[in-house]
Amino acid sequence: MADSSPVLRVRAVSKSFGAVAAVREVSFDLYGGEAHALVGENGAGKSTIVKMLAGVHRPDAGTIELAGTPVDLSSPADAKAAGIAVIYQEPTLFPDLSVAENIGMGRQPLGRFKTIDRAAMVRQAGQLFTRLGVSIDPNRPARGLSIADQQLVEIAKALSADARVVVMDEPTAALTGVEVERLFAVARSLRDDGAALMFISHRFEEITALCERVTIMRDGRLVSTDLLTDITVDEMVRKMVGRDLGALFPKQDVTPGATALSVAGISRDPVFADISFDVRAGEIVALAGLVGSGRSEVVQSIFGVDPRDAGTVQVGGKTLKPGTPKQAMAAGVALVPEDRRQQGLLMELSIERNVTLPRSRALSQLGFLTGGRERRSAKEWTDRLKTKYGRLSDEVGTLSGGNQQKVVLAKWLATNPKVLIVDEPTRGIDVGTKAEVHRLMSSLAADGVAVLMVSSELPEVLGMADRVLVMREGRLVAELSRAESTEESVMFAATGQEATL
């Protein structure tokens, strides 16, 4: 199956960002002709490992060896030259250039006078796509390609570079079942051609379907590397989490009250269509589904930051105009968005400004803000959420992920919402904070707040929700009660097929 000597050895690498040690003395080997999974919770250090292999970050300590020789990957160009290709979760293509150029960039076939032989370049791209069994027009620009197609272009890029090591960072997160199958077929052929594959995913069924070996990380440290034949999924989960799951999800039982949020037939072409559901006061409703199934778009449309083509949204019996977050906020809706860095926070502004921004009008006196009331309010709410920071005037970007998320929560809880929408509330935050956030949601629900939660983490969905709504490809496909919802039932609804778990 695999060669006896590893293609790439990672030897005791460490990497810190400021005071935070992201990766501590991690070692593992990648073998040619083998697919190697890297798993761990968010924040376990997987993406730091990927970035070190990609030449984006340089390890503080430890070495990376390629075919027995230590290499210094100090830039992406070095990694590329060393034969390491990285495929990111969000592909990094040049939207203005043609697909063929994207594949050939830096390695374009040359003709006379060292000019680029375009015909040959297009031909090569075409051959790669034929080999991958996909039909993408090499002449079209990369702009407008679906995420799945962009992934395929990235793989074609790796193929054309004859990469010895191909690292795939959660490539399937945004793909449909069929697309995943196609990707796997391609990955297997890559592996069978002798490349060493590193595959990062949260989905165990994919790991067991594709990989031979798995390395598990937790809190920046290596837990173990095992052959997949030697380890069960349960064992993997235990190693990843390293603790009892139950305590993480302190869900209190609540008798739901009146309908707080009522969504009727909202559509937005082509992202989602005909979505209807209610959330009652005191209820936690999870909106589950694969990434890209339209969950975030639905909640953003409810809140008004995204438009919608049809349908109505009512809060406490009042109909909200589409496209006006201000009105939604006035009606008591709060949205803790999916992407903390881009949507949730103003990273360059102070903690104080971030916490009080949605309420700046309410905090003003005769229309003026002198700072005192904002500071007091910011202090009150950050304290209430036990946020750790130096000064309120520090940039929010200086905080750790967990504390940043607390700032976002403080910002919205301060508006005293009746309907709290949280989109991936615990993404990228440490375990301790995770439990705090869950406790908070639970107690809010107990106080009569209607909570709508979008989450990709199945344990979170199952642990926290009173009801689970499942979306697939822009449509609501299932509604499961707490009793009905299991990993299998949710995944089945989300993927439209029997899970292989």
Binding site: A54, G55, V56, S75, P76, A77, D78, A79, K80, A81, V86, Y88, T92, L93, F94, P95, D96, L97, S98, A100, E101, M105, G106, Q108, L110, K114, T115, I116, R118, A119, V122, R123, G126, Q127, F129, T130, G133, V134, S135, I136, D137, P138, N139, R140, P141, R143, G144, L145, S146, A148, D149, L152, V178, E179, R182
Partner: protein
């Protein structure tokens, strides 16, 4: 999109879109020339065409350099000042000094290359936005020129006749200046289109982050783009000196806006990644022709600037519209994996 197989190397849809953009300028140009010629047939006389081409030559050389920088998602506002410094340097050098034209060209371009390298280094290593850097060097370079020139002027009769002839003489009916501009255009156009280096410039402008991850030597390329822009501005300074013969410290003041206008009208997106030097040169030709046509049509010359402004707005508005259209159509045929 069901056919799987080797697509024939045909014209890419990307190219078609770009060509359509340049075709738009050509059409506008044709209409303008036609209307003007009908009203005054002498507009198409040999002398008139020669004059328009001569006037375009300088602007086009600048626009080509600017396009290279804009394609990388930067901007170079210092070109007018660099032109002035180069023109004055060359003028001083040649003052009562019969040096060969080729030397003048090299010195002028050299002055520009130094300025361009300064811009590039500040942008790249100083981490200062190009707009700020080149706004600063616009002042500095102009100030240095004034310092040096101190209000003196170099007159045509002080320059060697060989040099002045270069500004007016022709080869088989085409002025040298125009030939030189075409040469610059073709070389830059070919490098941008058919050399790895050129494609990397587009890649950097299209997605700076992806360019870094793709291992493109971003620092070297950024500085290179500014060096090209500076060098061409320097070259344009020599052309300016040869064409007008009278040089003072104010030469080329305010050119930067015309150049940026030509580039934008020529379809180079201000946020990088698309457009071509052909378009930029056509933009320069269109702007110059408008100027001449207004004079011939006896339209108040005051309208010229307003028309240029309206044209810029029209061009970026149209580009936006076309981009949205193309994006929509691409999206529709994008989902084919089934």
């Amino acid at each position: 999109m069901t056919a799987v197989g080797l697509p024939a190397p045909r014209r890419s849809s990307l190219d078609v879109v770009l060509r359509a953009r340049e075709l738009g300028i050509v059409l506008a140009l044709a209409v303008l020339v036609a209307v003007t010629t009908i009203s005054n047939p002498r507009f198409l006389s040999g002398q008139s065409i020669r004059d328009i081409l001569l006037n375009t030559a300088i602007l086009a050389v600048l626009a080509v350099g600017q396009a290279v920088v804009v394609i990388t998602r930067n901007i170079d506002l210092s070109v007018g000042s660099v032109l002035g410094l180069s023109a004055f340097t060359v003028g001083t050098l040649l003052q009562n000094n019969n040096l060969p034209v080729i030397l003048a060209l090299l010195v002028g371009a050299g002055v520009g290359v130094v300025c361009g390298a300064l811009n590039g280094v500040l942008v790249r290593y100083g981490n200062v936005p190009a707009l700020v850097v080149t706004l600063g060097t616009l002042y500095v370079v102009r100030g240095v020129t004034y310092f040096w020139a101190g209000g003196s002027q170099i007159n045509a009769d002080e320059l060697p006749s060989g040099f002045l002839n270069f500004g007016n003489a022709t080869l088989i009916g085409i002025p040298y200046l125009v030939l030189l501009a075409v040469l610059v255009l073709v070389v830059t156009g070919v490098v941008l289109r058919s050399y790895r280096m050129g494609r990397e410039l587009y890649a950097m402008g299209s997605s700076p982050q992806a360019a870094r991850l793709a291992g493109i030597p971003v620092a070297r390329r950024t500085i290179g783009a500014f060096v090209v822009s500076g060098g061409l501005a320097g070259l344009a300074g020599v052309l300016f000196a040869a064409r007008f013969g009278t040089i003072d410290a104010a030469a080329g003041t305010g050119y930067e806006l015309n150049v940026v206008a030509a580039v934008v009208v020529g379809g180079v997106a201000v946020f990088g990644g698309s457009g071509s030097v052909w378009g930029a040169a056509l933009g320069a030709l269109l702007l110059t022709t408008i100027g001449s046509a207004l004079a011939v049509l006896e339209i108040n010359q005051f309208w010229q600037q307003a028309i240029v402004g309206a044209l810029i707005l029209l061009a970026i508005g149209a580009d936006r519209l076309v981009a949205a259209r193309v994006a929509a159509s691409l999206k529709k045929r994008g989902s084919h994996v089934s």
